[in-house]
Symmetry: C2
Subunit: 312 residues, 2 copies
Amino acid sequence: MIDEDRPTISSRDERATPRDGPDAIIAAIVASARGALSRANVPAATVVAAGCSSPGPLDHKTGIVLETPNLVGFREIHLADRLAERLGTKVFIDRDTCMAAIAEGMVGAARGAKDFVYVTVSTGVGGSIVSGGRMEPYPHIGRSSFAGRDASSCSEIGHFPVALQLDASRPANDDLPMCGCGSYGCVEAFAAGSKMAEMYGAKDAGEVYAASARGEERATAIVTRAERALANLAVGLVNVLNPSVIVVGGSIAEHQPAHVLEPMRRAISERAFKVPALAVRVEPAALGADVGMLGAVLEARERAAGKGAWFL
Amino acid sequence: MIDEDRPTISSRDERATPRDGPDAIIAAIVASARGALSRANVPAATVVAAGCSSPGPLDHKTGIVLETPNLVGFREIHLADRLAERLGTKVFIDRDTCMAAIAEGMVGAARGAKDFVYVTVSTGVGGSIVSGGRMEPYPHIGRSSFAGRDASSCSEIGHFPVALQLDASRPANDDLPMCGCGSYGCVEAFAAGSKMAEMYGAKDAGEVYAASARGEERATAIVTRAERALANLAVGLVNVLNPSVIVVGGSIAEHQPAHVLEPMRRAISERAFKVPALAVRVEPAALGADVGMLGAVLEARERAAGKGAWFL
């Protein structure tokens, strides 16, 4: 891959995600796409393909979002078809984390790596796994059969449980933070920005980190537990998957590297098996907040051209 | 694969693993191989190839065991070469868990599955990942460069950390069981037979399960925590890897299915994402205690014939 492969972003239109159901979300996506085209003076009819990054699980082949804990009412939504119909172009959807991994792998921090894991620490915690230069079987080894369909996109890295209640006389979920997915003890339940803010009663995780920096004890406890959860995830990924790079993106990773990348690196160095620990680099994502857009464009371009074996 | 592919075991020679270093262990393996040949009346000169199953991490291509926490002094040992020299035949080594997965995948509980995880719950907790019908890149995505060698065999499923100290004012490893690997909070540190016995002060895990069945509180606590650790592992494997089968072998899984397979199944059903949870079966290993031997024979046969793309 060469630098010219990195897409140029010529216009953008950002909107808050509606909280009143899938129709409103789809309408907002369509309005946003039209807004971006209009600002760039690009006639809709000249658009060859569009990429849409979405939370999962979803089936990127059929374009259906199956279930997603963080979007209200998004279940069994034919997202690609509904967008294509209203935008009048081919639409390729994929998980946000897969598109981000594609971008980081093709033009970002994992360029040249064949075996890497992309982790995002942001509102949620997610990621995807690239093996031998492919998300294979996409996104990893899964081939789920859900309602007769091949729903293969289910690498939910943020939902590895990394904590348990040690006191056997107490219920299994006692004291463990509940996760949006309905389970408890997930990495995401400790280290997602939305969860940290909720636990502290703040508007966002930035406030929690700021309070911790001032020495506020309750904030520091939340930050410490998030670090421990990310440390467990990092050690587990290295011991089980042996990647050559772990790319860590997302807004919290970007703004709080000392509380995200550093604890991950330290844990790998102190606690993982030596062979895979020496082989792995933990790198900040190179593409910042645009990673999802870049990945969507790269994936749509490849898939529209009938290529994309790298990630299909 | 057809049933005739299942090797017949015509003689066996079992010995305890010496605890006084690699030379003694290698001598015992050689003596055991000669013993088995002699009982079967097979002249050593007619042997085409031998397979040797070993704990890892190891490099199956060079035949070197890199480090292993459970064998005294086994570090950087050229096991395949040293055995080949003394046995006068080709020797193919591999991780015990990989050979077990090969056997279960070719002639056992995962036959026909392309994407499965093999987990063993025994003296230790381990496993391996098969993706798209291959351990690829063997055993999973890893390509470690260790002292210039391609040491790719590092899927240490038992060493995913599944617990953390929730009280941020206490040290990160406080109250967490130490693992043989030097880390803490690993699945193995909770659910390995050797660790359970050690925590209880018993000679083996069977005593702990028996005491728990009698209602002994301390034993029940150990069993409950082991179940919680295995539940976390199961949910994490399903959410992150989305396998079609999880084959669970090892002596503890075999003797205590209600404390191993059942909590894994229950946790998947109650806590994992629905799409991958509906797609996965948790199956007891089909090949029992012979799984390692069968896998070693199958792998040696394929590799000696220059085949074995399935797992090489």
